[in-house]
């Protein structure tokens, strides 16, 4: 049984002092229900996640107590992707044919505060100042720039594109374009990455309605099919966040593993993809994830980005809604935002950030601590 996305809803990302994280989730869920022309009582099951706004299943208090099974998902930055895969499998199994996936969050300002004990690490690791995701991304791109000749200017170009795309997206947080010089000269956070090259914790909510493919036309004229949905954790030897040591022999990380599995599942290849949303916790992540997901060779990013190929009008449009850099990262909602954007793109409803030429296949990728990745391939 194939699975289709038949309804989508979003609460604008950024800062909304008047609404709790949970209320932003409910806002998105109501829009998704409307979009699919169904009522909450029609929904047979739900999966959802929130990292710092309480339990996702508290949404039933807002939406109505119908008795449905609502399962909470917690997988760091891959929470949304994991919820979606869980819902996908629930429908694919034949057990259900209409479900909701929701993610929302509302984080304090500033870098995320991670607790070493939760990840099985000694307290010393945090005490000496190594419990920071930003350091990992900086060290990974530092090594990558050294190995594959990526320039500092290319780092800034990625952020410049994110802010351009954000300025075209009414639901984005950062809606003002920021130039390359201002990005490069903003405060250094972790060399070589400056403040404007990172995403920040923010707020927002996204919800999706999924149905079995054979019933999709009851709910929408424009179903979008989930052709691939995979999730992987790290194997021994990959270079990951929050690792006090790593093996001398390096292997592919969970991104490459999840990507290969998703392409195999969908029966398509990287060249077939028309628009892609890749985890951009910071600019280096977007650059490295281009190659890890199979869209180019390692090192080719320098030429591609300098030529503007990753812009909306380019040959491989990436993070067309501004990505995490322009939207911030409400952990529970972030991965689902990518799917929301791809559904808009495939329906031709993305407005100013619509990619040209009738896209047919779209790709999402998330990566999170302590080394997990989820990928989806959508087709209209």
């Amino acid at each position: 049984m194939d699975v289709a996305i038949v309804g989508i809803g979003i609460h604008p990302f950024g800062r909304t002092p008047s609404r709790s994280g949970l209320q932003q989730g409910a806002f998105a869920a109501r829009l998704a229900l409307q979009d699919a022309r169904v009522e909450w009582k029609d929904i047979q099951f739900a999966f959802g996640g929130s990292a710092s706004s309480g339990s996702a299943d508290a949404l039933v208090n807002e939406l109505g107590l119908t008795g449905l099974p609502f399962i909470n998902v917690a997988n760091g930055c891959a929470t949304g992707g994991s919820s979606l895969i869980s819902a996908y499998n629930a429908i694919k199994s034949g057990e259900y044919d209409l479900g909701l996936v929701a993610g929302f969050d509302k984080h304090d300002r500033g870098a995320f505060n991670a607790d070493p004990k939760e990840l099985g690490l000694g307290e010393w690791y945090g005490e000496v100042g190594m419990m920071l995701t930003t350091q990992f991304f900086a060290m990974k791109i530092q090594k990558y720039m050294n190995d594959y000749n990526i320039s500092e200017n290319t780092l800034s170009k990625v952020a410049e594109k994110s802010f351009i795309n954000g300025s075209k997206n009414p639901n984005a947080w950062r809606t003002e374009p920021i130039g390359v010089e201002q990005i490069a000269s903003s405060m250094m956070v972790n060399n070589p990455l400056t403040k404007f090259m990172f995403c920040s914790p923010s707020e927002g909510g996204v919800a999706l309605i999924l149905s079995s493919a054979d019933k999709a036309h009851r709910y929408t004229d424009t179903p979008v099919y989930l052709k691939g949905a995979t999730m992987k954790s790290r194997r021994f030897g990959s270079f990951e966040v929050f690792a006090p040591s790593q093996a001398l022999e390096q292997v592919d990380g969970p991104t490459a593993d999840a990507s290969k599995a998703a392409f195999e599942m969908a029966g398509v290849g990287p060249k077939d993809i028309d628009v892609m949303q890749l985890q951009d916790t910071e600019v280096g992540a977007e650059i490295m994830h281009m190659a890890e997901n199979g869209f180019c060779e390692h090192g080719e990013q320098e030429t591609l980005i300098q030529a503007g190929e990753t812009h909306i009008e380019g040959s491989m449009p990436i993070n067309t809604d501004g990505g995490c850099i322009a939207n911030g990262e409400p952990i529970g909602a972030s991965g689902l935002r990518q799917v929301y954007e791809n559904v808009l793109q495939l329906r031709g409803q993305a407005g100013e950030h619509q990619v040209p030429n009738d896209p047919k296949l779209a790709y999402t990728h998330v990566y999170g601590a302590p080394g997990i990745s989820a990928v989806t391939i959508l087709q209209r």
Binding site: G110, A111, N113, D115, P116, G122, E123, W124, G126, E127, V128, G129, M130, M131, L132, Q135, A138, M139, K140, Q142, K143, N146, M187, M188, V189, N190, N191, P192, F236, G237, A243, P244, S245, Q246, A247, L248
Partner: protein
Amino acid sequence: MSNQVPIAEGLFTWPSKNPALLCSRCQDCGIATFPAAESCSACSGQNVVVEELPGRGTLWTWTVQQFMPKTPYKSGETPETFKPYGVGYVELPGGVRVEGRLTENNPAKLSIGMDMEVVFEPYRTEENGDEVISFFFRPAA
């Protein structure tokens, strides 16, 4: 003289005339893990033995932490006294790549591939006067 205590038990030999970082070495597949663990994450085996890691290696990658982290960071510094610090992975030949703070925080003096050596130095002073000792990597002469 003040009492010196290691920042965590089992990370390195202490007290010792020649302190060294400690890893666990899998007796089945040969993989080393730092800090020492009770099982091998390469082969899932539990046949591991604690051994000393070499004290010298090369810088595999690095960054500089430019802002003062929030808790659990615990260095005794205040926002006024905070000094940016280097962090890197040092490849210890035959062992493993270990992540550690660097004694150098000037980006111009750090480069991938440079020789590094491990040193054990006071990191902070506890309220009772104990000096907490941690490990650092320093550019090797």
